[in-house]
């Protein structure tokens, strides 16, 4: 029957789309579990190292590392952590909106911006943006990134901090609240300024540094920054999968309602065609 062929093809094409989105939803759901486990596994290290840094901020070292000293910001460095792939709802766009707002604020007070990106979406975004410089990039890290993959990006920024090209360093990434909620955050990682004073650690004391303070602090602090960025990356991965799962679920649901509506339209059209045919036959018989 010729009636509703267009509708039928449309229904079948939506059905195909629905199959794809459903498959992506299930893939994302299983990946989400893995990335969340990874996020939990990396947490102890991040917690411990930030604890040590907190202790360190309470010590009274004879050697003050440049990472612990505040400078008047003229140029800031930003590491933007985004996903490699799209189709994950508003995850990246929310993050980039926050970034743009922050950049605007900096721009108003004449602070220049250097950027490093992790993830290809971030690189494409910065490529389109004017007024900031892209210094380093890492992408295609997969769902199970290694710390070694991002050392280069961090090193670029730390070198710039050491040579006083940038005066502050920020990390931008999504914070995993729960499966439904991911929150974009901009975190200041350098200089390290400890605000909440722990009474227990107060008093005049210092560590024994072996072999010497500079060398030990250098490697400890760069490890700390690496850990912060890595934690951000792992968390962002968990966010990406969760956001994708939710986005794909709602896409599948939408496809379902669309199919139902089209089916209704199709049935009505078919019914109308049948009625018309019958009435034509009846009218023809009556005329004879």
């Amino acid at each position: 029957m010729a009636v509703g062929r267009e509708i039928r093809t449309k229904i079948s094409s939506i059905k195909n789309t629905q199959k794809i989105t459903r498959a992506m939803e299930m893939v994302a759901a299983s990946k989400m579990r893995k990335t969340q486990a990874k996020m939990r596994a990396t947490r102890p290290y991040a917690k411990k190292i930030s604890q040590i840094i907190k202790h360190l901020a309470h010590a009274n070292p004879e050697y003050k590392h440049s990472y612990l000293i505040e400078r008047d910001p003229k140029r800031v460095g930003v590491i933007i952590i985004s996903s490699d792939r799209g189709l994950c709802g508003g995850l990246n766009s929310n993050l980039f909106r926050k970034v743009i707002n922050q950049f605007k604020q900096w721009d108003e007070i004449d602070i220049n911006i250097d950027v490093c990106t992790i993830g290809s979406k971030g690189a494409a975004f910065i490529g389109r943006l004017e007024g900031c410089q892209l210094l380093g990039q890492a992408s295609k890290l997969g769902d199970n990134p290694n710390l070694e993959d991002i050392i280069g990006v961090i090193k670029v920024m730390l070198d710039n901090y050491d040579t006083k090209i940038i005066d502050e360093l920020y990390v931008v990434s999504n914070e995993f609240v729960n499966t439904m909620i991911q929150r974009p955050v901009i975190e200041k990682v350098l200089p390290i300024i400890e605000n909440d004073i722990d009474e227990e650690l107060k008093g005049h004391w210092d560590y024994i540094y072996e072999p010497d303070a500079k060398e030990v602090l250098d490697s400890l602090l760069s490890r700390y920054i690496e850990s912060v960025v890595y934690q951000g990356l792992v968390e962002n991965n968990a966010c990406e999968q969760a956001a994708r799962m939710v986005a794909m679920k709602s896409a599948s649901d939408n496809a379902g309602t669309l199919i139902d509506e089209l089916q209704l339209v199709y049935n009505k059209a078919r019914q109308a065609a049948i009625t018309q045919e019958i009435s034509e036959i009846v009218a023809g018989a009556a005329a004879v």
């Binding site: 596994a41 990396t42 102890p44 990039q137 280069g152 090193k155 540094y209 030990v216 400890l220």
Partner: protein, 140 residues
């Protein structure tokens, strides 16, 4: 009763050990280090090697680490183990690689722009088709 000290060994990927011990031995850069409870605060770098945690007279647990950091507070010892062997030149190479990738991404900018224009054009064409569709339905 013997005195104990809390020991945490963590690597980037996981928590390796957490518990009380009588003594900890670690391969510091300046030589093997033994830490007993109430040791003075200390931070040091660790060489690749074996960390031994003496839990009691009978039991000592060994862990292999490929370098890292060790922090001592009077009642807690934290060992941050590295996953990979780190060296300055390797880090340097990684930094250069990241810079090169950024330059590539910027050189590729024409590509991304044409991609976004293409998708904009595609969206426009789709809209046109849709309105044509609507017009045709009205005409019927």
């Amino acid at each position: 009763m013997t005195m104990t000290i809390h020991v945490d060994i963590v690597s980037v990927g996981q928590e390796v050990f957490s518990g009380l011990a009588e003594m900890v031995f670690a391969p510091a850069e300046l030589g093997e280090l033994g830490i007993a409870p109430r040791h003075a605060p200390l931070i040091t770098k660790l060489r690749p090697g074996e960390v031994r945690v003496k839990i009691n007279d009978k039991e000592t647990q060994p862990f292999y680490i490929s370098g890292g950091m060790l922090e001592v507070q009077p009642h807690i010892v934290t060992i941050l183990a590295d996953n990979a062997i780190r060296a300055k030149d390797i880090d340097e190479a990684a930094a250069l690689d990241a810079k090169k990738k950024a330059e590539d991404a910027l050189a590729d900018r024409t590509g991304t722009i044409s991609y976004s224009t293409a998708s904009a054009q595609l969206a426009e064409a789709m809209e046109q088709l849709k309105s044509l569709d609507r017009l045709r339905k009205l005409g019927k």
